[in-house]
Amino acid sequence: MIGQSQFTEVIESLRNQKKLTYAQFLDGVVSERSYRRYVNEGKPFSFEILVSLVERLNMKMRDFVIVSMNYISMKYQKEIYLAHYLDHQMYDEAEPYLDETSPPYFTHVGSKILPALKKRYAYHQKKINLYTYLHHLKSELSLDQLKKQHILDRNTLKLLLLLLEDGSFEDQVTVIPILYDVILGQTQLITHQYDIDLNALIQTLTRVIFSNEELKIAFQNIIESLFKVALHNTRKFHLEEGFQSFFKDALLVLDVKDTLFKECFMYYIFAKRIQHPNYTFTSDSYIKTFLSLNEAKEIFNASHFSSLYFMREGYGHEQ
């Protein structure tokens, strides 16, 4: 998470960028001597001074926070890269960064997400066992408290998603209602990347429940609404990864004979072809659990491109 002292660094950087003299910038807020001391010693400004200086920069606080996050993310980008590679289990790419990135962490992934992903990596590399990895996640989460809370930050969300993916059935049963409350809007998600984080939540929850028969039975009352939420979310936020994930999951809950299945199948192929320009049906073991090559060809031959537009009005209303 961004430390308060880093706001000082960003303020000074923006002052320079906007070519404001100390006199113009500080008049009536803080003396030049004190300001220089804050900057040179990396001390955090008081809230009062920070708010005033952001006003002097002619910025809104929300813009300042976004700029600060981008600034810190650029400066400590190795943390961001490492978290990204570990999160996507691209371990060959992650390895060069593992030695170069150690605590203290400075970016928004630093405080909880990166250590948790490192634990998962260690577990996947057989350096620690599953119990140690899950124990780390649970020790960072106050699950009893979370059940009562109505606010969730993005660090906690990520840890809950890891527990959902890797935890036991009992862990999943505990975590799912907490996460579903976020989707229903009964718990507020505090994050600077709301659409991306909400999308990750819906995708992970959908994938985990839809692909696990025990969970499908335990949470059968939410399957239909979860599918609708996932469909709505994919259309609303139109995030790149959202399409790939949604169409893959949709095939798990739709009937093969359903028109919507056939459309989702074609969109699944489109998304695959975007991802891998050399993708072929026969190389995809996942899709072959639903259809044979001949059945797939039939759907393709019967498809009319002129009506295959995912955003078209009425799409998905059959559900």
Partner: protein
């Protein structure tokens, strides 16, 4: 003493109060030795201006970081206006999808003069695209509001206005300032979605003019990076076609891969076939869009 507008500060106090409740902390425990309960309630009701020093003491008492409070203010307390959605759908000629936002933003006056005016210009653009007003009326309105926007284009609102003006008037008089602002002002750091919309608008404009090939390439390269940074499929869809066109102009045969990606995205993102990039695509290939995809998909089912 630094003076602040109390209406700005109340959102911080609301954030503090929400986090107080989440932590199960009583008002008394929060304000002990800081302020009186009567004052606290008056601050909450906006009957009294809250001093920044008191806000800061309460943040410390809660034991949360200032960045937590700021992120709360940033995301939870900012009600989405729908401006970006409206601009996006309008840019992609998705008038049906834009309509609910048009109704909401028709009389928008909640922000700065610059943003309010820019929104009103987009509202007029919607009305023009929907055949509710003529091109002349739209042009006259643009001209009448031009003085509000600074030609130095040091704000993204001004830059957005002049790009719209340039497109509608098909006039490159502001080209040098527009391209400088797009390439150098780093607006994508804080206003990435609006940046993506206007960058694509201007790229489409430049793609028609051989005199601006170098600027087109530079902007296309920046747009491609920025679009991928935010994972928004709409802008990746757009960036892909400009990326293809730059490759095509530089005799890189892999441009067809980018065209195909662009076309697949079109089916995932739009409600109908788009003519928006047809000039660019037809400069690269004479094949129909459907045929390109059909041939590509035949490879999938071999």
């Amino acid at each position: 003493m630094v003076m602040n507008n109390n209406s700005d500060l109340i959102i911080y106090l609301e954030a503090i109060d929400t986090i107080r409740k989440e932590k199960g902390l009583s008002i008394e425990a929060l304000i002990e030795d800081i302020t009186s309960e009567r004052s606290y309630r008056r601050y909450m009701n906006q009957e009294l201006s809250i001093p920044l020093q008191i806000l800061e003491k309460m943040i410390l008492r809660l034991g949360v970081s200032m960045s937590d409070i700021l992120i709360y203010v940033l995301k939870v307390k900012q009600k989405p206006s729908g401006i970006i959605e409206f601009f996006t759908y309008l840019h992609y000629d998705e008038l049906t999808l834009a309509t609910p936002y048009y109704k909401r933003l028709k009389d928008y006056q909640k922000d700065s003069l610059l943003l309010n005016t820019l929104v009103s210009m987009y509202v007029l653009w919607y009305e023009y695209k929907s055949h509710l007003i003529s091109l002349n009326v739209f042009k006259t309105e643009l001209e009448a509001h031009k003085h509000i926007f600074n030609t130095s284009m040091d704000t993204i609102e001004s830059l957005s206005f002049y790009i719209l003006y340039t497109i509608v008037y098909e006039d490159d008089a502001y080209h040098d300032k527009i391209i400088k602002s797009l390439l150098e002002n780093n607006f994508y750091m804080s206003q990435i979605l609006l940046f993506d919309i206007i960058a694509d608008q201007y790229l489409i404009f430049l793609s028609n003019d051989e005199n601006y090939t170098k600027d087109y390439e530079n902007l296309s390269s920046l747009f491609y990076q920025v679009a991928h940074m935010w994972h928004d499929a709409y802008f990746i869809y757009s960036a892909q076609i400009h990326h293809a066109y730059v490759k095509f102009k530089n005799n890189d045969p892999s441009y067809m891969v980018d065209i195909k990606k662009h076309l697949y995205y079109e089916h995932l993102l739009l409600s109908k076939s788009s003519k928006k990039y047809r000039n660019i695509i037809s400069a690269m290939t004479s094949l129909s869009m459907d045929l390109i995809l059909k041939k590509d998909l035949e490879e999938v089912f071999k």
